[in-house]
Amino acid sequence: MEIYVLVKQVPDPEAIVKVKSDSELEIENKYFTSFFDEIAIEAGLKLKEKTGGKVTVLTVDNRRVDALRRGISMGADDAVQIADPALEGADQFALARTLSTYLKDKPFDLILTGRQAMDDDAGIVGPAVAECLGIPHIHSIIGLEVDDQKKEAKVLREVENGKESLTCPLPALFTCQKGLNVPRIPLVMNVMKAMKAQIKKVDLASLGLGPSDVSPYIKIEKYVPPPKRPPVKMVKEDFPQNVKTLVKLLREEAKVI
């Protein structure tokens, strides 16, 4: 099977992210491969181990290729970086158009990615790539079995009140959710090898795209800090009076019950 995994290097959940100005953020220099993308890489590798074939990791990023190196260290065969000055400030739709233009003449059976990148938390790129390529997609899968002969996937998807099973013909795109697998931790030796691995670099012109093809549909007008909660009110009385007071506060002050 030919499998492509769309990945992104993002600030670590522990990284400090603050509003610097209306148009700028201050981001601590602590990055990791978006957790859900690692799940997608793992899913790709597991399928490859079963059916043979190839896993290629793919990113659109002008600066960081660490997610690609992570993919290689885990066992991906190939890595491609799409980078171009015109992609600076591109929205997720522009990224999707770029990725799908790269993918459209590739012989893929399956495209995998995380349910959302852990920076913009948008979850747009995956389904939008599937739309551009005219293939089915399923969002947030927690189970995956592939019948390579029939070119069909059996998928488990998380919905609000339970789990839904679906069948889907390949090629298809699935976005991966925690629970699908536990991503392997690469061996140090493979991490070293990945540092030296060749990464293929592609720009917009080589895809036949110009700046007008990546103009945004949505843009960030302003960054704002998160809403602040007033200081906590500690109920300091002894038990059981503290419980009575808390119930009273929730009913009469907060009026939530």
Binding site: P216, I218, V243
Partner: protein
């Protein structure tokens, strides 16, 4: 061009979800500024009850009745909704930030080549009709105000409890039956089964009240205490990554960065220290209560009310106290 405000109605077992009424209520507010009409988009079959409950909340209901809309797949929904949008050209299309909304909206926006703001916690409409969407980034460490390009409709999915349901919406919708636009060759995905979550009331993203415990609960069987409290409050039970990784609780109930973001009216955290992974998931809850033995626990920095105490003593007493108070109300 109709310029209307459309809301994709979501329903489960024939009943319309609360998020739909919240979004229609927001639409009614916006329409007062710009004179647009508000429409609900309803796809499914056997939806008499849904139509009835939506009628006071919209000027129009576009009803597409076909069995292939239940259960939801983007294959069936996309073409039908897209053709209706191309015909009527609404100004705005809103939906819930639900498993359906997050599956359908990004693809539909790409199909229509229009802007879409996902997982919003607020929307505002200027006097000039400009729509601004507010959404969390980096799991809620910062927020962004998003502007849309000229393309229409402007699309957004919105979390629960971002808007209040209008008590007196005062509309009386005209029901417009629309033939569905289904090409059987496009129905590629097939839903083959559904496993209902055990003991589940509402999903934690949909519940008004969420009661949660973390590692401080000590053993999986002790969650019974939390479940009893949730039952009295008609709430749902959430948890932290630690207990999920231990295998004590199901992943669907995990709150936080690698789990779910919740927007409950009341969130109560017991024996949860307040790791950043967790508190990022509760940033948009209205009122937060924390109980932990450690008076310096980080969770108190993110709470409105706190008790430094033993959950094993406090939770059962709270359950009894709420029971008494709620009985007295009746």
């Amino acid at each position: 061009m109709s310029n209307d405000i459309w809301v994709l109605a979501e329903h489960h077992e024939g009943k319309v979800k609360k998020i739909t009424f919240e979004l229609l209520s927001a639409g009614i507010d916006f329409s007062k500024k710009t004179g647009q009409e508000v429409a609900a988009l309803l796809l499914g079959s056997g939806l008499e009850e849904a139509v009835k409950s939506l009628t006071p909340f919209a000027d129009k209901i576009y009803l597409m009745d076909a069995p292939s809309f239940t259960p939801y797949t983007s294959d069936a929904y996309l073409a039908s909704i897209a053709s209706l949008i191309k015909e009527h050209q609404p100004s705005i299309l809103l939906g819930g930030a639900t498993s359906t909304g997050k599956d359908l909206f990004p693809r539909l926006a790409m199909h229509l080549q229009t802007g879409y703001a996902p997982d919003c916690t607020g929307l505002s409409m200027g006097e000039d009709g400009k729509l601004t969407a507010r959404r969390p980034l980096f799991g809620g460490k910062v927020f962004a105000e998003m502007a849309f390009s000229e393309a229409r409709p402007r699309m957004a999915t919105v979390r629960n409890n971002a808007f209040l349901v209008n008590e007196n919406p005062g509309k009386s919708a005209k029901v417009i039956s629309v033939p569905p636009h289904i090409d059987p060759s496009l129905l590629k995905k097939k839903v083959t089964g559904f496993e209902k979550a055990t003991g589940a009331k509402l999903d934690i993203t949909e519940a008004d009240i969420v009661v949660a415990a973390g590692r401080g609960i000590k053993a999986p069987e002790n969650f019974k205490l939390i479940e009893d409290l949730a039952d009295v409050l008609n709430g749902s039970v959430g948890t932290t990554r630690a207990t999920v990784d231990e295998g004590w609780r199901d992943l669907k109930d995990q709150i936080g960065k690698s789990g779910k973001n919740i927007s409950a009216k009341l969130y109560m955290a017991f024996g949860i220290s307040g790791a950043i992974h967790h508190v990022l998931g509760i940033g948009t809850c209205k009122t937060v209560v924390a109980v932990d033995t450690d008076p310096n626990a980080l969770i108190f920095n993110y709470a409105d009310y706190g008790i430094a105490g033993d959950l094993f003593q406090i939770v059962p007493a709270l359950t009894e106290e709420f029971k008494k108070a709620l009985v007295a109300d009746q």
